[in-house]
Amino acid sequence: MNQILLCVPALLPLAGVMALLISGIFGSRRETDSGKDLMEKYLFWYVAALTLANSLVLWRLILWSGEGESLVLFRLYGELKVMFCLDKMGKVFAGVISVLWPLAVLYSFEYMKGEKRKYTFFSYYLMTYGVTAGIALSGNLMTLYLFYELLTLATFPLVLFPMTKDALKASRRYLYYSIGGAAFAFLGLVFVLTFSITGNTAFLPGGILDLGRANSRRNTLLFIYLLAFFGFGVKAVVFPCHRWLPLATVAPTPVTALLHAVAVVKSGAFAILRLTYFSFGTEFLLGSWAQWTVMAASMVTILYGSTMAVREAHWKRRLAYSTISNLSYILLAASMMSSLGLAASLCHMVVHAFMKICSFFCAGAVMHQTGKTYIYELDGLGRKMPITFGCLTVASLSLIGIPMFAGFISKWNIAGAAFACGMEGLERFGSWGLLPFGAVAVLLYSALMTAVYMLTVVIRGYFPQISRQAGGDLSRPGARQNTPDIRQGNLDPGWRMLLPLVIFAAVIIGVGLHSQPLTEFLMVIGGEGA
């Protein structure tokens, strides 16, 4: 029974979507308004129920599924099986998405109110849930690759959703990049399959390469690892392959928030973690030129992303650049190729999910309520939307890495991993070992940039500038009587949008204050993985 349950989270949403699409074909003939309203109502319950059910199944699996249980759905070819298996690392990812998805759906119901083509939107939104769950549950590289490709397909209609020229361009670029990246990741798959000690691609902590054979063609394999890294790195927005993400912000905010800040990009990072720790194995990669390249690439990405975020005036695009740099935190930690690194990168994966979705949802709430998308338009909104901006402040502080917020915990762990790597590296690999120290510096630079690009938003919200009138002296009492009262009217959105925000903010603070259970669990994974 348990085994069969393993495929449910991936397939249930897909089945649900099929049903929805079929009913949509029939439903579209009913053109009357009342019928439409009714349908919409049903749509809400339907989507909500499916999402919740799926999350419940996921939690059931997370809490009570034994180690090593697996389910082979079918064989694609030879040893390439579509296999589901939930190990600890999968549990982490599954846990994150299973919490985020229902809330995001709740949010999008308010956000998408009044939009046409809700059917399309929610179908693909739901479908993406299934696919992402599939990634979390995949038990071997083949399955991961399959769902990775499916993810591209399931999400590109969502980017295309606004149907504007920009959306067209964005979705096109998204597709090219993703599919192109997958083409390179595919090479990794082939090599892992060929050089695997088990004869298949099933994930094992510590990797499955047959080191004897692999070392005989070490450089080729390292090169392929790099290709696969950058291939999967497309979704994880590593530097040369990052250009799709800022464009993709044309999608509706629930998409940008959940998919382009969490599901899609994290899937990329997750895939890289799987590739690094569970397929190639750190033993093979540690100390190789591939490791340094990967580390350098993520450092460059962090620098680039955080710098560009400062320069960007469009709020969502700024957040997208922030995502670029933060995703590379994960990769940077992963590139330490140590148990600490794996734990740290998973930690940031979890934490960043909450922080970024919270920030995006705040941006979306502002867009939805006021239609403002540029940062210079946000003056004084902090007073009008107190809850939204409160949550934004929490998310921002967390993103910067202020202690007591969740972001600090992950940065702490990443830096710890980097230092440990550097200490060891100095002894074993000479001057290459200095790179991790540089990584910490990069991390701190990025934190500084984060402070700039996030807090400027918050400050604008709370402290709208008052331009000094000609000759006017601000110090005189009453000099500002004629400034418009900025307190009028509460613009906070409805509860369906606020609830997720508040929950996310609470989680951020909660994890920031008490992270031990999480980090201990992650350390266990790290201990296994490397």
Binding site: F419, A420, M423, E427, L455, I459, Q465, R468, L474, T519
Partner: protein, 497 residues
């Protein structure tokens, strides 16, 4: 949670009251209530701090993550700073009661004012470097609204500059914290430092880099070159009481940070004679000189005071950088004196602005006729800062110079005192003209304008005057009777060096 819960009280009480002041909607139009809350917070903070510092205490709160413990611990340095902070805060708070009548958003000001107090006390009580860092970051963020308070273009850009420099400094320091965590694991403060040379073998280069990063990073808060740029921009745009405490107290948290790092974690022995010490001495002396020069050339009163802060705080850093007991005592006593003096000066400047709207020094001719008592206090404080005996500045500078001469740091032993002396002259040059012009505006001064504006004899209200009086009196009195203070500081110096 283990330990003496009383340590938590002075931290939580002001923060709580501040939150109430911030969050309560009923305060609009109900000033007495607001002031009631504020003074509950201030007085509560004052009393509970005094109560807390009497005993030895430790408190472990909780773990943020495995290696990150939040915990308090009282020691000499902590007590010293906490008492200083809370007293100055109370006085400046008293001053704000009148001063803030001409500013908007009082409740926000007071709210954050109280929260910063709580955070600062937390900073002083911190038992380990990470707790310290936590409060350090929070201090930056909670004091930011004070800088931003006026919301003018200058204020916002100054606020951002403040934020940028502080955060940049904090992150530089964080590099060091990461490093020490990785090497040492536990970062509880131990007088004399926890680091042992053995654990850094092979990594001396990284160690020194990390320490240097921390010196520069924490130095940002103390306005040390090269991260000093924010200070002259940010302090003057805040309301006067805020600039006073920013300049007088918050800059000292940078000093405290360096004391904690160098004397309680790294240990002076690790860096004595290294390039880090040389660089540190150089930077602080450079800042001393540069700050005075810039102050000398600055026409705007509050900015001039801010530059003066840049220079004066670096006296303290210079004293610390010598890693020598006498200089250490001098540095810490200068913490007290500068704190009192600079608060007095800023509050004076605020009073001038409040009463007359004058911002530039040249406008203030004849100030002695407008507010003689205030100007008298200003003069006393200035003399103290210049270091005219028997006022307090003399004591600290004496100790600093003596320490420098006996430190054995090569050329610095004589370069240091020379620069200190030069800077003292410059200090006199930029502070005293106001006194002279204020009391003796000269024959060509036309008093009629003052009469027209009904400014003659217009002293501020007692709430404003009292803190100024007390602070400048303190500055003088400590100079006359420095004995107890110096004894206490020497004890501290003995434990750490």
């Amino acid at each position: 949670m283990k330990g003496n819960m009383i340590l938590l009280l002075p931290v939580v009480l002001p923060v709580l009251m501040g939150a109430i002041a911030l969050g309560g909607k009923g305060f609009r139009g109900n000033r007495p209530l607001l002031l009631g809350v504020v003074f509950t917070g201030l007085a509560g903070g004052l009393l509970s701090t005094l109560l807390a510092v009497t005993g030895e205490a430790k408190l472990r709160l909780w773990q943020l993550t495995e290696s990150v413990e939040i915990g308090f611990q009282l020691d000499g340095v902590g007590r010293f700073f906490a008492v200083l902070t809370v007293v100055v805060w109370f006085l400046a708070g008293l001053y704000s009661v009148t001063y803030m009548t001409h500013e908007e958003d009082e409740s926000r000001f007071f709210g954050f004012y109280l929260i910063v107090l709580g955070v600062l006390i937390g900073l002083d009580f911190s038992g380990n470097l990470i707790t310290f860092y936590v409060f350090y970051e929070m201090m930056t963020l909670t004091s930011l609204p004070l800088v931003l308070h006026e919301r003018s273009k200058e204020a916002v850009s100054a606020g951002l500059k403040y934020l940028f420099y502080s955060v940049a400094g904090a992150f530089l320091a964080l590099f060091g914290i990461f490093f020490f965590t990785a090497v040492l694991g536990d970062l509880t403060f131990v007088p004399g430092g926890v680091a042992e040379a053995a654990s850094f073998r092979g990594k001396e280069g990284v160690l020194l880099t990390a320490v240097f990063c921390m010196v520069v990073g924490f130095g940002a808060k103390a306005g040390m070159f090269p991260l000093h740029g924010w200070l002259p921009t940010a302090h003057p745009v805040a309301p006067a009481p805020a600039s006073a405490v920013l300049s007088g107290v918050i800059t000292k948290s940078g000093v405290l940070a360096l004391i904690r790092v160098v004397f309680f974690i790294v240990g002076p022995e690790q860096i004595r004679g290294t390039w880090v010490q040389q660089a540190w001495i150089f930077l602080s002396l450079l800042t001393v000189f540069m700050g005075s020069m810039l102050a000398y050339k600055e026409p705007v009163m509050k900015k001039r005071l801010a530059y003066s802060t840049v220079s004066q705080v670096s006296y303290i850093l210079f004293g610390l950088s010598l890693l020598e007991p006498t200089a250490f005592v001098g540095a810490l006593s200068h913490v007290v004196f500068h704190s009192l003096v600079k608060n007095a000066l800023f509050l004076t400047a605020g009073a001038v602005i409040f009463q007359t709207g004058w911002r530039k020094v040249e406008q203030m001719r004849g100030l002695g006729r407008v507010m003689p008592v205030t100007l008298g206090c200003y003069t006393a404080a200035s003399l103290s800062l210049v270091g005219i005996p028997p006022a307090s500045g003399f004591i600290s500078k004496w100790y600093l110079a003596q320490g420098a001469l006996s430190s054995g740091c090569g050329a610095w032993t004589w370069i240091g005192p020379v620069i200190l002396l030069t800077s003292a002259l410059l200090t006199a040059g930029y502070l005293l003209p106001l006194t002279i012009n204020g009391f003796f505006p000269g024959g060509d001064f036309d008093g009629r304008e003052l009469e027209e504006r009904k400014l003659l004899g217009k002293e501020p209200s007692w709430q404003m005057l009292l803190p100024v009086l007390l602070l400048s009196a303190g500055a003088v009195i400590f100079g006359c009777f420095p004995g107890p203070l110096l004894r206490m500081l020497s004890e501290i110096a003995e434990t750490v060096l």
